[in-house]
Symmetry: C2
């Protein structure tokens, strides 16, 4: 896959939504019209909110435990990517280097985003996944869709 | 801490409990009377149930993603321990080796148990945490207590 065409995500908005689940909105920058909207589970939402400095938790979360271990190894986390949506499921990857070799591992987007925010590494999204803003009719259709998307 | 006195956990029972949360019971062996009872959050419960082969999930869970990365490094996971309970919060550690040096990282017990089941490494518990079976009156008291325990 040609990741050089991917768009860097520099703005992430999060919102706790009772009816539909917890909402993430990814944008290239604050003024960008196009966005990627996804709903995530409670633990991933908490991890992302914590990385954004919005909440604190008394004990290390799952990804904090593992990042503590990884930081002591020669494995270097490079970037994460959100590459596709298939069967209403978004696909993401974590890219990393060991020595001179680069690898990638499949990931849920919410895990990839929490990891990237913690490590301060780039989040890249396939350009086709960043949608233009929708009309209110389209938004109603989207709401039905995003409720059934699995993260 | 003298981990040589810790008791190896060889039996883990899990049960989804609607009213009180998801239950884990740790025992030295199936016939042992003493047990360590803890309640865990939904994602940790799912991770442990998956490691026990009770459920499947279509995509890698958070700890599976990170263990995939760690398995490619020189870091060797050795064992996990549940060492204490303070302010109604259980304390656990992940023990690991890098080269000739051994380290430990603080962890939530539920993360430590999911990790240990996945990696097939020992789970050790402080002997004082394994309680004898309780009378039904004591069990009622325990139920009030464990509801407020944080994992």
């Amino acid at each position: 896959m040609d990741y050089s065409t991917f768009i860097p995500i520099r703005e992430i908005y999060i919102k706790a939504e009772k009816e539909t689940g917890n909402l993430l909105i990814l944008k290239e920058h604050a003024q960008a019209e196009a966005s990627l909207v996804m709903f995530v589970g409670e633990p991933e939402f908490i991890a992302i909110a914590k990385e954004k400095g919005l909440i604190q938790t008394p004990r290390p979360l799952t990804h904090e435990l593992y990042l503590t271990l990884l930081e002591q190894t020669e494995l270097e986390l490079l970037r994460v990517s959100i590459s596709d949506v298939r069967d209403q499921t978004y696909l993401a990857q974590v890219h990393y280097r060991i020595g001179d070799d680069e690898f990638q591992a499949d990931s849920r987007p919410s895990d990839a985003i929490a990891l990237a925010l913690h490590q301060k590494i780039p989040i890249l999204a396939h350009p086709g996944l960043l949608k233009k803003p929708l009309s209110s009719d389209q938004l109603d259709t989207l709401k039905d869709f995003i409720r059934s998307v699995k993260f």
